[in-house]
């Protein structure tokens, strides 16, 4: 273990002194920031030209005019219109309209303290928080109509809220259940997951550097000198740990640089969203994912004389980390679907698929998570073993790439 740490320390030190690593370290977050800034320019111009949200108000209380002036004051980009459609009719209407919402202001809603809102499918995700400004005029009306007895005051202080009765398809199938489901800010659940994904991505990319490093070891012909002082598995583990630390450094630097920019851009308390218990699980999943790919890469790297001469077999292995991309679409559209479940149980895809599912699901499928983590842990252990066997022989083979047949023989040995 001491030797392993020496190797790890060396790999870290060596890379930290390497200009291209340092440039990459700082450049990656800067490029992301750059894209965001450019993106925000495009966003602005989009907003100006895009149609504003049309909000129909079915006003039975006579607060429409007040609502218009409230909207004007807040500067929200809405086109307010009056309507006398019923809730059922409004839902039908919404089936084929865009950027539209129906707000029902009636006595019944006022008594319950919740007013129904129906939105078209594509409505902006911030709409539900924006719509709350309309409570002002409604409450004023409430106070005006009722005398100010103590009871009534209590009723008022209870407040009134607009509650999403569902966007059309949800409302159609689940009726009342859809009510109030989107009270939380979506970012709150997304942020830890995105961070976990980011950790996974950056350690996997750093993991690919292990591959380089293992094959460079052969190209530089230093392996035999190093192996006169320690065992192949110590060398391999040292590399895996060293590059893991480098990946974490990358993540840390990126986070420190990116987080303030993101907080400014989205104007949300991201740090608060980030530091939640779920994060621990996400990071754990990301680490398992790293260990899996790192052991595969270090093993395959040891079979190659030169990075540029990757054969079909090695090339295929290099593509493994990109396999989860196949699952992104299906998982997002149905986080509990068959594809999502398959992805959860394949070790190469499970870290990414798990992260994706956990962030998009409200109810976590604990049994599936458990099985998936177990599969992952066992695979990590197995691949480490196999990589050790390949590494031991491969690292000393000079001048040619190992064929799959040879690798198979080493594995059996």
């Amino acid at each position: 273990m001491r030797n392993t740490m020496k190797v790890a320390k060396w790999e870290i030190k060596r890379n930290m002194k390497n200009k291209s690593y340092l440039i990459g370290l700082l450049l990656t977050p800067l490029i992301i920031i750059g894209f965001m800034v450019i993106g925000s320019f495009f966003d602005d111009s989009d907003e100006e030209s895009s149609e504003s949200t049309v909000v129909f108000v079915n006003d039975e209380l006579g607060v429409y005019d007040d609502m218009v002036s409230t909207i004007e004051q807040t500067g929200i980009n809405w086109e307010l219109m009056q309507t006398d459609l019923t809730e059922a009719e409004a839902q039908e209407e919404l089936e084929d309209s865009e950027e539209t919402a129906y707000v029902f202001v009636d006595e019944e809603g006022l008594e319950n303290g919740s007013l129904a809102v129906y939105t078209s499918d594509d409505i902006d995700s911030f709409f539900m928080s924006e719509v709350q400004v309309l409570t002002g005029p409604v409450q004023a009306k409430q106070m005006e109509e009722l005398g100010l007895t103590e009871e009534q005051l209590a009723g008022i202080s209870q407040g009134v809220q607009f509650v999403e009765a569902g966007s059309i398809n949800e409302a159609a199938e689940s009726g009342e259940e859809g009510m109030g489901s989107m009270e939380e800010n979506p970012l709150q659940t997304l942020v830890p997951g995105i961070f976990g994904g980011f950790v996974l991505l950056s350690v996997v990319f750093t993991g690919m550097a292990i591959f380089q490093s293992a094959s460079q070891e052969k190209k530089d012909k230093i392996a035999e000198i190093i192996l006169s002082s320690l065992t192949p598995s110590e060398l391999m583990q040292g590399k895996i740990i060293g590059y893991f630390a480098l990946g974490l450094i990358q993540t840390l630097v990126s986070t420190v640089l990116l987080l303030p920019v993101l907080m400014w851009r989205f104007d949300q308390p991201l740090l608060e969203y980030l530091l939640v218990p779920e994060l621990a699980l996400y990071v754990f999943i990301a680490i398992l994912g790293y260990l899996l790919f790192a052991s595969i890469f270090v093993g395959v790297g040891a079979t190659m004389a030169d990075v540029t001469t990757a054969g079909n077999f090695q090339g295929f292995v290099m593509m493994l980390p990109f396999l989860p991309f196949v699952f992104i679409g299906p998982v997002l559209s149905d986080p509990n679907g068959l594809m999502a479940q398959i992805g959860t149980y394949i070790p190469f895809t499970s870290p990414a698929v798990l992260l994706l599912r956990l962030t998009s699901l409200e109810q976590w499928p604990w049994i599936e998570i458990g099985i998936s983590l177990a599969i992952l842990v066992i695979s990590v252990w197995a691949f480490m073993k196999l990589a050790g066997k390949i590494f031991k022989v491969g690292i000393l083979m000079y001048g040619k790439n190992a064929t799959p047949g040879e690798i198979w023989k080493w594995l059996k040995a």
Partner: protein, 312 residues
């Protein structure tokens, strides 16, 4: 002398091909022991088995310092045949890293590294990146790395390959020095002249088998017969008929007479015919180089000599 390493009955096969078999030798404290042999004879395989980089199929490797099979990695210095250094690091950094891997105190390593860099004409190169070094310089750094931690057993696989004569001398001196100070040295080479000058004992290997094993002097008396080189225009047939001549080799203007093992040079010289044209005459022992070439080119001269055959 204290045995630092003993190898007995070592055997190793790759697939069906037996690469080495029945290799046995010792390395003693303070001596230079050479493994000689043509390319592909099994020198590096033998060394890699000793270093635990390969595992022998048969035989035993015994290290004195651990009193067993376990390799005392920290007390061995190893310069492999396939060697190099990380490219994008500073010379001193890599020397210290390799010393650290051997658990050698770093401050001591630094002082010694600077001393050796100076000794090998690399003063001031400690902060230079390895990729800026020439091949020879790189080799010097590798050599320094292998001796920096004061190993008690030093294994050098082809240490002289690729070196210019000046550097060869430097290496030779340093290796002799180390041996004088008690380091046991095992070196492999195919450069006979160098080995002949410095080795105390040698083990010649061909096609994975032992050919000669013994001290340099023994080997010379045993295998290196006298030969007489005569410059001058003489009839080869006449020379061939001289007593105790095994075979002759005719070159332009000179003839080499290979003599019997039992020959007495003084007496032999006295009975040379008077009409012989001698512009120059040299009598010396067959060099290790010649023995080696004979073996390597499969002339099997030694055996033929023993059978007393004339080889022309």
């Amino acid at each position: 002398m204290e045995k630092m390493l003993s190898v007995s009955n070592l055997g190793k096969a790759f697939k069906d091909k037996q690469v080495i078999s029945n290799i046995s030798f010792d390395v003693h404290k303070g001596e230079i022991m050479a493994i000689l042999g043509p390319n592909g004879a099994g020198k590096s395989t033998t060394i890699r088995n000793i270093m635990g980089i390969m595992y022998p199929d048969q035989g035993n490797i015994h290290f004195q310092s651990t009193n067993g099979k376990e390799i005392p990695r920290h007390r061995i210095g190893y310069l492999p045949e396939e060697r190099g250094l990380y490219k994008n690091v500073k010379v001193m950094d890599i020397l210290l890293y390799l010393a650290e891997l051997k658990d050698y105190p770093l401050d001591k390593a630094r002082t010694r590294a600077l001393e050796y860099l100076k000794k090998f004409d690399l003063e001031g190169k400690d902060k230079v990146s390895v990729e800026e070094l020439s091949k020879g310089m790189g080799q010097k750094v590798q050599f320094i790395a292998s001796i920096l931690h004061e190993p008690e057993l030093l294994i050098l696989d082809e240490p002289f390959s690729g070196l210019d004569p000046v550097s060869q001398e430097l290496f030779k001196d340093e290796i002799r020095n180390l041996a004088k100070n008690g380091t046991a040295i095992l070196l492999s080479s195919h450069q006979m002249n160098l080995v002949e000058e410095m080795a105390d004992r040698l083990f010649m290997i061909h096609r994975g088998k032992k050919v000669i094993y013994g001290t340099m002097d023994d080997v010379k008396t045993e295998y290196a017969n006298f030969k007489c080189t005569i410059h001058g225009n003489n009839d080869p047939k006449q020379l061939e008929l001289l007593p105790q001549v095994q075979r002759i080799e005719v070159n332009e203007g000179s003839t080499i007479l290979y003599l019997d093992k039992e020959v007495n040079p003084n007496q032999w010289l006295k009975q040379l015919p008077e009409d012989l044209q001698i512009l120059e005459l040299k009598i010396n022992r067959v060099s290790l180089h010649e023995i080696f070439i004979d073996i390597a080119s499969d002339k099997n001269l030694l055996q033929e000599k023993k059978a007393g055959e004339v080889y022309a």
